[in-house]
Symmetry: C2
Subunit: 230 residues, 2 copies
């Protein structure tokens, strides 16, 4: 089949939970989904911080979707689709603690295991192969995909940016879950969700964020990727 | 600095050697450089096979640059810039044998260490981190970069394709060598060369070819990547 976004499922009635949603990436995604009218819950380790982030994002121009904040467990329970946006440091612990509320749900890992030193960014080795595969191992009853690795939080959270010019690479073995994530990605103006292989090929997509950061530093930009001939 | 191709060095008088140039990727690159008028030498393990590939590519429409075939050692000696396009299986052995003729030269590794099984393509683990870092370890006197991983050999070798719609990600620590490779990439109509980080970040760029193959299979296409906001 060729790429055809009209075959994607409807997702506008789904609640998107963003776990660790108080970081730059989490708040940026929350804002874009709220702009699209999606119901969004922002989770944090402490409910007050999730609530504060929700108020902050809701105050941005065009954030029409209902936004609420809570702790990560409550956000996981409230979500139809849960995006894991926690720092890599603490990823395993946070994910493992949410096994029950995430059971049966589509879980989207967007975490990039990266290190930084005086020579710049680099990819960290992950025993499981990738953050997403680590999440899949810890959440055997969830439908784990990976996506949203390369979106610039600076662009996401900037109300003046009408259209985010990139494709979201979606990794996953569960075709139905992948289609939901592709449809969700396409809710962000300018974005296509593209199925870019199985979860075992998530590691290099996560690691490639180091290259995009290197490009950003060299050329003073906020780079993204488009898939051509699609 | 912002991305500005006018600052790139002139490379049109350089001889491009393609080592292992009888494979699909090597012949495709040879054709595109010959179309640009670049002098190209195709190397192979056996000189006759290099010569046959050179004749074949020279017969394609528009291949105006002088094309000759020889064995890999002679091609390495004749080249100003040498592109390593051998199969991953045998990469270390071939590269190690060319240490002397490649000394002092810009060497561009474009090898993708991939495996295939019934579930499709996947990235192979490489002890040195990447094929390019393996080459750099084996060629301590060469200026090793990595590039041309994602170009579709099908498109490269198709005379009807006027413009190849993608960016070539160039990895390397030697800024001057990187600029030469970027300029060389830009000799292919439609292509930009983009410095995408140090050589230690080459592994995920090589591995990402598995994702592009997965995209090609899923969507029946020849996908490439463009860097946006650049």
């Amino acid at each position: 089949m060729t790429f055809d976004r009209t075959t994607l499922p409807r997702v506008d009635d789904l609640t998107v939970g963003i776990l660790g949603g108080t970081g730059d990436q989490g708040r940026g995604l929350a804002y874009r989904f709220a702009r699209a009218g999606q119901r969004v819950v922002i989770g944090s380790r402490r409910a007050e911080r999730g609530e504060a982030a929700a108020r902050e994002v809701a105050a941005l121009p065009g954030a029409s979707g209902p936004l609420t904040g809570m702790d990560n467990a409550a956000a996981a329970a409230a979500a139809d689709v849960a995006i894991v946006a926690v720092p890599w440091d603490g990823h395993a612990e946070t994910v493992a603690a949410l096994r029950e509320p995430l059971a049966g749900k589509v879980v989207v890992d967007c975490v990039n295991p990266l290190g930084f030193d005086e020579r710049g960014p680099y990819a960290l080795a992950v025993d499981e192969g990738s953050a997403a595969e680590q999440a899949a191992a810890l959440l055997p009853s969830s439908r784990v995909c990976a996506a949203f690795h390369h979106v610039s939080s600076v662009l996401l959270v900037d109300p003046a940016v009408e259209r985010v010019d990139l494709d979201v690479l979606v990794l996953g073995d569960d075709r139905e879950a992948v289609a939901v994530v592709m449809a969700l990605a396409a809710r962000i103006d300018g974005v296509r969700g593209v199925h870019a292989g199985r979860l075992r090929n998530a590691g290099q997509v996560e690691a490639l964020t180091a290259n995009l950061i290197a490009i950003n530093r060299r050329y003073s930009t906020h780079a993204g990727l488009r898939v051509t001939n699609l």
